[in-house]
Structures are given as C-alpha cells and as structure tokens.
Amino acid sequence: MEVLLFGIAKDIVGKSEIRFSEADTLPGSVGDLKRRLIASYPEFGKLSSLAVAVNSEYATDAVFLTKNDEIAIIPPVSGG
C-alpha cells in the first residue's frame, strides 16, 4: 500500500510517498491511517487540517482502505 504525500506532508515525512509493505499491518481505514501518521510524525497533529483522499476523492475517517486504492494525504490546500 502506497500513500502519496503533497505539500507540507512531503516535507514532514521527508519523501513523496509512504509505503506499507505486506509484512506491516496495513491501516484498515482512513481514521486508522491518520492516527498512525500522527503517532509516527507528530507534526501532522499541528496542521490546520488533515484530510485523506482515496482514489482521488476526499474520504471520511470511516472509509476502509484496501491495498489497491490510490491513497493521498491532503494537508490544508492553498491554491488560487
């Protein structure tokens, strides 16, 4: 399972994606993924907001994740 990182999320982790190998326990839901991210990188907890996109759509914490989903961390957007 790969998780794409953009903007400040990329800076916090220090790379443009996180990879969960088969050996790891994969995060089961969006909420689970967020909790793990904040545990590993406390800086995520200090952002104005932290959203997750699953297959290019904003996803609530309850959405289940499977290893073929395209998953992305969406820190506060600032386009325009």
């Binding site: 953009f6 104005s48 290019s56 759509e57 992305a72 820190p75 957007v77 600032s78 386009g79 325009g80």
Partner: protein, 139 residues
C-alpha cells in the same frame, strides 16, 4: 453549457482567455486572475511554488464547474491553474465565465474561485528572503 476548459498548466497565457470565453449567446464575461503579490504580512515575497495532486485537482475543478452550472446558466467556462515556480506579478490561476447577463457571470466567477481555494488539492509555498512557508498549513 459548452464543455468547460479545465487545466493545470506550467504557464498561464492570460491573453487567450477571452477568445476561449467569447460567445454569441453571452452579454457578459467575468474573469478573475490570481497573481503573485510582492508582500504577505509585510514580508517581501521572492516567489511562490505551486504543487498539485493533478488527477484529483482536475476532478475537484470539474465538480466546482458542475456545482456552479446548477446555480447559474453558464455558456462557457475556463478554469486554469498553474504549477511550478512563479515570480512576483505572474498569473497563477484564471477563472472565467460567460453568461447571458452580468449578474450570473460575477456570481459564478466568485463562487468558483472561492470554492477552488477551499477544495482543490493544490499547495502554495511562499519563498521569502530567509525562509519558505506552506500557506495555510498551520492555524
């Protein structure tokens, strides 16, 4: 409505947007251009860098046009956002719409830029003399 022009590009050519919006059924065209300002909070900005989650950003931009089309009768629409490094005074986003009457083009243009800033996964980093900041990242 004709098929909208929704793009993420390296460089925005503001001169062509009118030709793209010009329309025999429209009496009004409203265009908003967002540009790089030289100061933020009294600090001198050197440049901006824009990063996009492109596939999702295009989808979200399409949703914005669809939502606006439910509210207003639009004839032609352009939403074009730039990515990469932008210097002071360069355009970073263009939103334009042509409608039969001017009320609708102002309202739809305003709605689309406001919503773009809230929902579209694009990130802006401001480069100052001595630091760089991801805009809006922290409270």
């Amino acid at each position: 409505m004709e098929k909208p022009i929704i793009e993420i590009v390296e460089t925005i050519d503001t001169a062509r947007v009118y030709d793209e919006l010009s329309d025999a059924k429209s009496g009004g065209i409203c265009v908003f251009v967002g540009t790089v300002r030289d100061f933020t909070n009294n600090e001198s900005v050197i440049s901006l860098e824009f990063e996009a989650y492109k596939s999702m950003a295009l989808k979200e931009m399409e949703k914005i046009v669809d939502q606006a089309a439910e509210k207003w009768s639009m004839n032609k629409v352009v939403i074009r956002h730039a990515v990469g490094l932008k210097k002071v005074q360069e355009p970073v986003v263009v939103i334009g719409v042509s409608t039969a009457h001017r009320d609708a083009c102002f309202a739809a243009c305003r709605y689309m830029i406001d919503t773009l800033k809230e929902t579209v996964p694009i990130w802006k980093k401001e480069m100052f003399e001595d630091k760089s900041v991801w805009v809006s990242a922290h409270p």
